[in-house]
Amino acid sequence: MTPMDFLQLVRGPLFDIALTIFIFGVLLRLFEIIILDRKRDLSEARGGEFIAGSKTIFRRFKPDREKLQHSPVPTILGYIFHLGFFICLLFFIPHIELIHSALGVSWPGLPNFLVDVVALITMGALVGLFLYRLTNPLLRFLSSFQDYFLLVVVFLTLATGYIAFHHIIEPYPLALGLHLLSVELLLVIFPFTKLMHTFTVFLGRYYNGAMAGRRGVQS
């Protein structure tokens, strides 16, 4: 297989398959969760659920003092990684083109050198998170194979993107193909791993906030 064959494969059928699995899996998982439902709470409510639940979704994006104090490394690296990843994902112009072609929506991108710097920082944060997970006794105890594996897969998407952008691997179709392949791997494993937290975090926070809000506490 030549590099161009490879690129055609990953830009063509493999991408379609990965996208299908991703959408299928995410919807499957979300339906599995939502259909389970929760019992109607019969206790007399002290506060509303909806506003409190929605507030919690946003409140927990905010870094709090305690987390910064007790777990500064994973908290700060975590924020850098998430922010950086979404900047690279959503504001790199080739990505915007992809989103535009799939969904028909578009927005202004960032200059490539900025995305480039962000990608480097993000990769650094991921390496930091990986090392922290490996060396911190608490996280080491908690971590399963998946925890490390996902960090590697996410790192690969950034690293291959960086490599393709800078033409570090030649020929370029091979580099771009590897980037797409790593993204496809991410898409395929996404619904069946903890990457699902990307979506379920909203559900989880809402439920938490709603249940607390009902009792008159903003969680």
Binding site: E66, L138, L142, Y207, N208
Partner: protein, 432 residues
């Protein structure tokens, strides 16, 4: 089925499964932040006390039974089945080292309500027979005798006699049609009878129409702590029956956290219907009286006070402002703990840990967290609003050689009550 079994436990878990649980399990990324929020981890440094780790068997069960992918993995033999031995091994994590305090639920960046999950987890542990003996004992006494500490009606009557004799106040029992039915925790009956006297004084002054119920005076609910909604229901039903029989408008939870949570938030769901009466924590009622100007106090406490927020009343109960309003009434010399309100640290004895003798050493060890918090305030008196907390605090302070008096907020109010109680009564008459 006439006995507890793994099968029965797993069936109980199936019943407990719901969307929040599934969402929470799907969201956890093993960040470890809940560990830092849990005093069992911070004080021991042992990662097995990480809150979310305590749920590992339930997470696996959920994945195997309630996700398509998990079912497929199980079908091809790629996921480990839950065993009875595993539950036995997990029992200390689920009971001895979790007070259901809810601090981790506040901390989780994913919004996982881990306490909510542990509560559900315990249903399966109870149904499979993995409950610490101390807690089984308490539940047995609660069901058979009426109180987890084995306090009988006769004991209460004896205390009532003492109080009436000493204070000259009347403590109404079984008054049909009273507005309020007060409940007590057995700890208050046995260890802190001051509470009952304080109630009588305050209600006397404010002219509150109240009563105790001889058939339902115990507020605590061991069933909730054990994690059996059946036992919880059985115990709660007594209160509901008592209240409905007397036809009261409102049931007052005593200064006891779990009692309040069980009564206020779990109760209607346990019996499957809404109450015909309202439920208030005593602090809520006192604050209402204060707002209405019916709570008259004179004089203030001079010493530096601090308040320990009982988890079930404050963080999980929503009674946040009331204790502060009431404290402001009787003290200008008040200091908040470094982590307070929703972020307060548990006394270490909630969730049934206090009745679990096996957990005592661990409980006292992790009290170090509370000690540091208290040290930082340099308070001279520690006020709280939960008899269980109060007992745990006293034991902990003793263990760590700290001389710090612990008292209940209701008693403190009663102590500063304005002497002319006739005024209050007059107002009430006017209202009527």
């Amino acid at each position: 089925m006439s006995t507890t079994s793994l099968q029965r436990g797993l069936e109980a878990w199936k019943e407990e499964m719901d969307a929040p649980l599934a969402a929470f399990f799907s969201s956890c990324v093993h960040c470890g932040i809940c560990a830092e929020a849990c005093l069992f981890y911070t004080e021991t440094g042992d990662p097995k006390y990480t809150p979310i780790h305590k749920l590992e068997p339930l997470r696996r069960f959920w994945h195997q039974e309630f996700t398509l992918f998990g079912r497929l993995l199980k079908m091809v033999g790629l996921s480990k089945e839950i065993t009875d031995a595993e539950l036995a091994a997990w029992e200390p994590l689920v009971y001895d080292s979790c007070t259901l305090c809810g601090r981790c639920s506040q901390a989780c960046p994913m919004g996982n309500d881990i306490t909510y999950m542990i509560r559900k987890m315990r249903e399966g542990f109870a149904a499979s027979g993995h409950v610490p003996p101390g807690m089984v004992g308490a539940a047995g006494r609660a069901v058979r005798i009426g109180s987890p500490m084995g306090v009988k009606l006769s004991a209460l009557q004896a205390q009532i006699g003492h109080i009436e004799q000493e204070s000259g106040l009347k403590i109404p029992v079984d008054v049909q049609g009273a507005d309020y039915m007060a409940l007590l925790s057995s700890m208050e009956i046995m260890n802190f009878p001051e509470y009952l006297e304080a109630l009588a004084r305050i209600f006397e002054q404010a002219g509150v129409s109240w009563t105790l119920c001889s058939e339902a005076f115990e507020a605590t609910n061991s069933g909730v702590q054990v994690g059996s909604k059946d036992i919880a229901r059985e115990l709660l039903q007594r209160v509901v029956d008592g209240a409905e029989k007397l036809g009261v408008k409102c049931v007052i939870s005593p200064e006891c956290g779990h009692a309040y949570y069980a009564l206020r938030w779990e109760g209607p769901n346990l019996i499957g219907r809404t109450y015909t009466f309202q439920v208030l924590h005593i602090l809520e009622l006192l604050d209402q009286l204060r707002g209405e100007g019916r709570l008259k106090v004179e004089g203030q406490f001079e010493e530096l006070l601090t308040f320990h927020d009982p988890c079930q009343i404050v963080r999980k109960g929503g009674v946040l402002a009331e204790p502060r309003n009431l404290l402001a009434l009787i003290s200008d010399n008040y200091v908040e703990m470094p982590d307070s309100r929703e972020f307060n640290w548990c006394c270490g004895g909630g969730g049934g840990v206090s009745s679990n003798e096996r957990a005592e050493a661990l409980r006292l060890k992790v009290f170090a967290r509370k000690k540091r918090q208290l040290d930082a305030t340099q308070a001279e008196t520690l006020v709280t609003a939960c008899a269980n907390c109060r007992l745990m605090l006293e034991e902990g302070l003793e263990e760590y050689g700290m001389e710090l008096p612990v008292t209940g907020l209701t008693e403190m109010i009663a102590e500063k009550l304005a002497s002319s109680s006739a005024e209050g009564r007059g107002e009430r008459t006017e209202e009527r």
